[in-house]
């Protein structure tokens, strides 16, 4: 897989979502850290960063 973007993902009550698309891992880590600090239900939420391939290009507009 050719890496195109880093997805910041979170999962609360079994419902995973991609919260942001970032160009670098460092940026993704910063976003994840910010979300952990601001989410109301951060204690019940799992966070991770996923590497995305070409599918990221098709959805980038939704994260603009």
């Amino acid at each position: 897989m050719i890496r195109v973007a880093y997805a910041v993902c979170s999962e609360t009550r079994g419902k995973p979502v991609t919260r942001a698309l970032c160009d670098t891992r460092k940026e993704a880590e910063q976003v994840m850290s910010r979300l952990k600090g601001s989410d109301m239900d951060a204690a019940q939420t799992t966070y991770w960063i996923a590497e995305l391939g070409a599918e990221a290009a098709g959805i980038r507009d939704y994260y603009a």
């Binding site: 997805a7 419902k15 995973p16 979502v17 590497e51 995305l52 391939g53 070409a54 599918e55 939704y62």
Partner: protein, 367 residues
Amino acid sequence: MNEARVEAVAPIHSVRMGLPQAWHGDVSRRAVARLKELVQSGGFERATSIDPLTGELTSTESRALFAALPSISSATEPGGLLDLGLLNQLPRGLSEAMLEPKYVFGRELFVQAHVNHRVRDPQRPVGEYRAEASLGFTHRARLLGEHDDRFVLELEGAPALLRVAKTDIYAWNEPRGVPSSGGVLANVHIDYNEPLLKAQICAAYIDLAHDIEALDFTAHPDQVKQQQERLVGRLAARQRTRYAGKEGYTGNKAGALFTQGQGICFVQRAAAAGFLQAFAKILAFEVIVCVGRTLRTDSPHGFLVLTLRPSMARYVSDPAWHEPLTDLRVAFFGPGWGHDRRLVGFEGLQEQGHPDASSIRLPELAA
């Protein structure tokens, strides 16, 4: 709405050129018979094992068998399934059910209006009309009648009935997704000639054949709806794609992604659409590929809306959230129940065009 998101891939007939039709029929029927033995012996799952890097089948025997299976898509006529030996009989009353009007009094539809998605009362669904709210989709408009080129609808909270162009209603409520010849959606390649996708579709037909044959569209409407719900729910529940960042194949082949892949919600629902559309004609349902957002965090989220015919009952199928088939009124109720989504747009093509006058049965409501 973005029509450009689907690009056509090679049509199904392209790989079949140069050989007589009867030869293909024999090969396909024999392959279906062999697959039946494999499914019934419990060996199907092992036979679908793939290389997680390439998505290619690891067994040469599986590659040969699955390649010989017939391509089945939303273009496949129900009668063709009999010829292939996938079904022994069609559901009773199927063709009559598909002729029933779709735009009838009381049907709930998606419309764009000034709607509120904040929870005002936890006992009431979100999506009611609010004059000061911004323009968005609500799932709660109810069809009352027609006048010229407009439908007349009611929406809770609206000061007057809504009169919306029929073309807009069709754009927001008619099937939309993967072309019947295959296509690309969220970078997922839905190729109905992909051996593993063919195998997943044929195996599902084999597993569900008995119940599909028993489906009776002449029974009481509640019973029909219940039978369809059970069958469509079982189909959707066959998908086992994991969320991005977990284990599994990360490529773009729909068949490999469907049970052994990983991907974000948009990828998962693209694979789901490709698979489910291959059953739409025989089980009488429609698929809409949707783009949404969550209510709590406003994160983009992809899912499918399925509509059963002739009841026109609507459901959300959301593979990333492990919801094979949730009543749409529940799925869009509000964030309190964890059904945390709203509709913001659509993806894919509307291949079938606008429905004709026979699909409307409504009273005339002049202005």
